[in-house]
Symmetry: C2
């Protein structure tokens, strides 16, 4: 049986995110999985996701780190409660803060591996540290501070 990604567990009505929503046909549809205590996503940019020719656009990289971070935060929150991701109540995180350091130019035309580690999980806040690598070389480091989505936002959108 194929492993389901974190994003496959998001409630349908919250699964339209341009970066990782399974139901956003225009989006990137990033998929994230556990790999031991780390999380991993792999994404291959399109040819037009370019910055200068031959290199990946930094805004796309920021997007991958963002969605990898919120996905990791949700998965970590379930793990902290020893719950599976298909149990209630559903956890969904939004980004409070995003930081990206572009260490090396990221080559276009090869899959990018995004790996995350939970640095801190406390109350409604999860801090996720991320690397993005191409051909085994780390090109970018990122950090996402994710916070659990307020219930009123969740509810206002599930009732519309």
């Amino acid at each position: 049986m194929e492993q389901k990604s974190f994003q496959d567990y998001y409630p349908d009505e919250l699964n339209y995110c341009y970066g990782c929503g399974r139901l956003n046909e225009h989006g990137l549809q990033l998929k994230t999985y556990w790999d031991g205590d780390e999380t991993v996503s792999v994404y291959t940019p399109k040819s037009y996701h370019t910055a200068i020719p031959g290199y990946v656009y930094g805004g796309l990289i920021a997007s991958l780190i963002d969605c990898h971070g919120t996905g990791t935060a949700a998965a970590a929150a379930y793990r902290a409660e020893n719950r599976e991701m298909d149990t209630e109540p559903a956890f969904r995180f939004v980004t409070a803060s995003l930081h990206v350091d572009y260490l090396n130019p990221t080559p276009l035309g090869t899959p990018l591996e995004i790996r995350g580690k939970v640095k801190e999980i406390k109350g409604r806040k999860v801090i996720v540290e991320t690397t993005l690598s191409a051909n085994g070389k780390i090109c970018v480091r990122g950090q996402v501070i994710a916070v659990q989505m307020p219930e009123h936002m969740l509810k206002s959108n599930t009732t519309t």
Copy 2:
């Protein structure tokens, strides 16, 4: 005569950036202008640039801040030399570091105004502080540390 944006001055061979390249037909084609000592871009997200329904995707916001920052850095570098943007040598900046604080959810369906100020310009480095507003309310604050593109990257791409 219509004012030309910063990006309209980028050399053609470096004008394919997904965020702001005039020649990237799949991209966002952000345009940035001086407004006194500040810089301003306006972008209206597409309906599919959503995070959760009704709100703008954070990765898109990061992209807008990124390109607004590198564009502002280039324009500021010309101003520091009292040169017009159509004079040689051409300045083009890349992002070393990007920081975004999402203060309030950004509503979808309205133009977003991105405003930048140069916090520091020193050697090849320019630091740009940015706000992103919707309907006159600041939703996001960003900072870009931009560095002038190394000549060898510029040359290697203009000769291919």
